[in-house]
Amino acid sequence: MSSITYLEAIRLAQEKALADDPRVFLYGQDVGNFGGAFKATKNLAKEFPGRVFDAPLSEDAIIGMAVGAAIEGMRPIVEMQFADFSTCGFNQIVNHAATLYYRTGVPCPIVVRLPSGGTSGGGPFHSQSMEALYAHYPGLVVMTPATVEDAYSMLLEAVALDDPVIFCEHKFLYYHLKSERLPESVLPVGKARLARAGRDATIVTHGAMLHESIAAATELAGDGYEIEIVDLRTVKPLDMDTVLASVARTGRLLCVSEEWPWGGVAAEVIARVTSEGFGLLDVAPQRLNAKDTPVPYHPDLWSVHRPTASAIAEVSRRLLNI
């Protein structure tokens, strides 16, 4: 079997969801015969006639229609062309989809796919990481797969869930992350994964930052330090058990997130570790986020705007007092 990219895993998961469940349909800009801006829906319109629709350039209507279809028992998967454009559909996500179950007892099983995060040259409006924004709202499940296997299995789980899911798939991982096979067994939704075992410090991260963190940990291993890495997988719900168990082993915590610092995932993890596990900490917990500016377009600016492996290694050294 030739290797499967993260992007292909997303396509395959949608293909399987369409094949397995007649309630599933796809709706989004250019997702039909064209196969999507990133080709995440390539061939699916042909394979599943009448179930993969091109939508007008109307994010609010796309998500609003998904909500209505979900009330009628369907399982829509909608694609935002870029996560950044979901702000134009924000109202339907946070005020309609997220509130429906609490208000009426009727669940809202929609999946909103957000091609997320920075890539070289993406610039301010094609690079955003919006997981913290959506995680702020009760009623939404927010997934941030960091591996090919998770991209596949978590998307299938997202479709199966009765609650609305914001699926933050990372564009930086689309092409270069590859796997030989698709997973057979998976962790349950809301469970974090120990991506690397260690004893000296814990890095809690998600999405593309997992791979920068692993590179930093490899660098530090050369100096004799063992960094443990927790991949959150879903940022809401947040698996504090796994995080706290790791901090209990290491006593030191660094949170790495690609989104902006103020009120981000890193801030939330640190808030909860300090209030729930203050005694486990040997030193003040640290966080590393993107810089607090819009995402710059020029590759030289962008490559230091987001946390990089070397920046993570540098903060880790400070955390370890070296």
């Binding site: 349909f25 009448g50 179930r51 939508a55 007008p56 109307s58 994010e59 609010d60 209507a61 796309i62 998500i63 609003g64 229609m65 998904a66 909500v67 209505g68 279809a69 979900a70 009330i71 009628e72 028992g73 369907m74 829509p76 134009c88 109202n91 339907q92 005020n95 309609h96 997220a98 509130t99 429906l100 179950y101 609490y102 208000r103 009426t104 007892g105 009727v106 669940p107 009760p138 009623g139 499940v141 869930l161 009765d162 609650d163 939704v189 809301g190 809401k236 719900p237 947040l238 504090m240 909860r272 209030s275 729930e276």
Partner: protein
């Protein structure tokens, strides 16, 4: 424009049926206003006085199995679609037994499983939701159904109106979008709301059928909605209905509406559709004044009895709410100190 032949009359029984639902909605809303003044209501009160003829005509032309997403001034349409005095009062008086269990109230009530959608406040948002529901029904192979939703003149200025109506038109969905053009959005007059000559002119821009009606006239409302709903049901695509009328109350019961232009109040658009309908019933000798008074009395008795019942019902208990925004209890976050 649809080409089928219309039956351009309204029978006395249809007219009286509509009138009695309007009357019940009016009586119920008058009670809500007095309960509001007495401090008995949980939350706000926004009434549909003067808009009953248009609203009831929407509800009466929908069947079981259709979808209806009413808005703030649709007490009459809601009741015509099957909502009850009991459910209405349970939300306004904050009974735990109401359809929203204290979690959302009043005009936001609904029973989505029964096609009676529960509006969110954000104006225009129900247009794409009903459209998506209709798309789903089509995918499931259901035909001959209609989805209706209502809006105000102000709501036509939202992005959701534009996106929702356009998307429904692209899919040729059986959507009936009814605009109650009551001349104001809260205090904002139409002159500050839109620059087109008539809201119904928007229909052509979206490629949908447009219908215009004097919404103070019950017979015209019934005929127009009959035609629009039939056209949608038979595959004619979205129908935009614009009814002209005047809001005969404040925006909400907290508002004295001092800003309403007196010239509008004395103009034909400012007439009360309920009084006009009653006059017609009397003039046509479909019923006597004594009978219409008896109908009002009957409605008042029923409303008052239901108020007495609901006031004895328990409110929601904070300690019994599961405080769960997710359908899966494993997804509840546990915050220390909370």
């Amino acid at each position: 424009m649809p080409t089928f032949k219309e039956d351009a009359t309204v029978s006395s029984s249809e007219f009286i049926k509509a009138y009695r639902v309007m009357l019940l909605a009016r009586v119920l809303e008058e009670k809500l206003a007095s309960l509001y003044r007495g401090g008995m209501i949980k939350g706000g009160v926004f009434l549909g006085r003067g808009q009953e003829a248009l609203s009831v005509s929407v509800g009466l032309h929908l069947h079981k199995g259709d979808i209806f997403a009413p808005l703030i001034r649709d007490q009459a349409g809601r009741m015509a679609f099957g909502d009850t005095i009991l459910d209405t009062l349970r939300t306004y008086l904050g009974s735990q037994l109401g359809p929203m269990r204290g979690r959302d109230g009043n005009i936001h009530r609904g029973r989505p499983r029964e096609g009676y959608y529960a509006m969110i406040s954000h104006l225009g948002a129900m247009i794409p939701a009903v459209s998506g529901a209709l798309l789903a029904r089509r995918m499931k192979g259901e035909t001959g159904i209609v989805g209706a939703t209502c809006l105000g003149d102000g709501g036509t200025s939202t992005g959701a109106f534009h996106e929702g109506l356009n998307a429904a038109a692209v899919e040729k969905l059986p959507l009936v979008l009814v605009v109650a053009n009551n001349q104001y959005a809260y205090s904002t007059p139409n002159s500050r709301q839109f620059a087109c000559l008539d809201l119904v002119d928007k229909a052509v821009g979206y490629g949908v059928a447009g219908h215009k009606v004097d919404a103070t006239d019950l017979e015209q409302c019934l005929l127009t909605l009959r035609k629009a709903v039939k056209a949608a049901r038979e595959g004619g695509g979205p129908q935009l209905v614009v009814g002209d009328l005047l809001r005969l109350v404040g925006h909400g019961e907290h508002d004295d509406a001092h800003y309403v232009d007196p010239a509008l109040k004395s103009a034909p658009v400012g007439r009360d559709c309920l009084l006009l309908a009653e006059e017609k019933i009397i003039a046509k000798k479909w019923a006597s004044r004594a009978e219409t008074s008896a109908w009002r009395h009957e409605a008042e008795e029923e409303v008052n009895a239901t108020v007495d019942k609901v006031r004895r019902e328990p409110g929601p208990k904070p300690e019994e709410d599961d405080w769960m925004a997710y359908s899966k209890s494993e997804f509840a976050e546990h915050y220390a100190g909370a």
